[in-house]
Amino acid sequence: MSSVCEDETIAMRRCRRGSAEAFEALVNRYMKDAYFIALGLVGNREDAMDLSQEAFVRAYRNIKHVKPDRRFFPWFYQILKNLCVSHLRKRRYRQAASLDGEDCPEVAAAADCFSPEAVAGRNEMKDKVWRAIAKLDDKHREVIILRHFQNMSYDQIAEALFCNKGTVTSRLYYARKKLEELLGTASGGCINDVS
């Protein structure tokens, strides 16, 4: 693990001097994480691919401003997340504008753009869980994505979100409570229709 960190530090140092080869190594290492996190945050494959690539471009342009002791991924994650949040905001605004005058709750509008094709080996249950995750607000969906889909530890999540572990556990608790509510799994219930 330490050699991985050392490799990354060296790669970042080379990137700051303008090495595209060193940046390519970082991209190859983190492209899947970037894509799947973006997919979890924005809900469809085309946007996730576009946003993850754009995040790497912005990282390349700004990497010389990063403090030497910073690790790449937590810093990169902030860029990716900001792009995804900005994208979601624009999408909600466009949907609200196109449905001008109609009763359209913002959260439901965002969830509508979550494509079921994003889920592997689809079945009815998985589609319902995915729709429920889509209905979480951004900060709660984020911790679910990082924990369940990226399998990140609490320490890694806290580092990526610039918060402490207590905040991570608290957000996970409320995110899971909300998921239970949406899926109807609390009190021995089974999954209800969440659409």
């Binding site: 595209a20 390519e24 991209v27 190859n28 492209m31 899947k32 894509y35 799947f36 997919l39 979890g40 494959r45 691919m49 690539q53 754009e54 790497f56 471009v57 390349y60 342009r61 401003h65 990063v66 403090k67 910073r70 810093w75 902030q78 094709e117 994003a118 889920v119 592997a120 080996g121 249950m125 998985k126 869980v129 995915w130 995750i133 679910i144 924990r147 369940h148 889909f149 530890s153 609490y154 610039f162 207590g166 556990t169 608290s170 996970l172 608790y173 899971r176 998921l179 239970e180 899926l183 799994t185 609390a186 009190s187 021995g188 999954i191």
Partner: protein, 148 residues
């Protein structure tokens, strides 16, 4: 400690993130608190359901072309910057020469020349004012180095 204080430990217990001491303390609490034990069972069921869901992996070709896509965007970004800078320089140069010709042309009325000069002076003042404001706020921005 109240049940509410054990919520964080419950998440850690569920995700196997507790130290031996924390785990022991939480299990002791669970043994005497059916409410928290019930809540933990519900969370375990939810976790099992959520863990079933995985995201679809794109084709290998997508990953093979990924760096190419990023590199093309970086390259095009540089191209756009050069294009924009060159276009601005050419417009300034062309504008300067056009204005110079108008000012030197004896057939153009003095009022028009004065109006044109006033317009340019106004634009220059606006540009300097906006630039100075930007620099002032950038220097005062306490968060400019945050999260770098």
């Amino acid at each position: 400690m109240t049940c509410h204080d054990y919520k964080d430990l419950m998440m850690g217990y569920l995700d196997d993130e507790l130290s031996d001491e924390q785990r022991h303390r939480f299990e002791e609490h669970l043994a005497g608190c059916p409410e928290c034990a019930g809540e933990l069972q519900e969370f375990k069921r939810l976790k099992a359901i959520t863990d079933e869901v995985t995201l679809a992996e794109p084709e290998d070709r997508i990953w093979q072309d990924y760096w190419g896509g990023v590199y093309n965007r970086i390259e095009r970004g540089v191209g756009w910057i050069l294009f924009s800078v060159a276009a601005i320089l050419l417009m300034i140069y062309g504008g300067f020469r056009a204005i110079e010709e108008i000012i030197r042309d004896p057939n153009v009325e003095l009022v028009f020349k004065l109006g044109l000069l006033a317009l340019l002076a106004g634009l220059a003042i606006l540009f300097v004012s906006v630039l100075r404001e930007r620099i002032y706020f950038w220097k005062k921005d306490r968060y400019k180095d945050v999260r770098r």
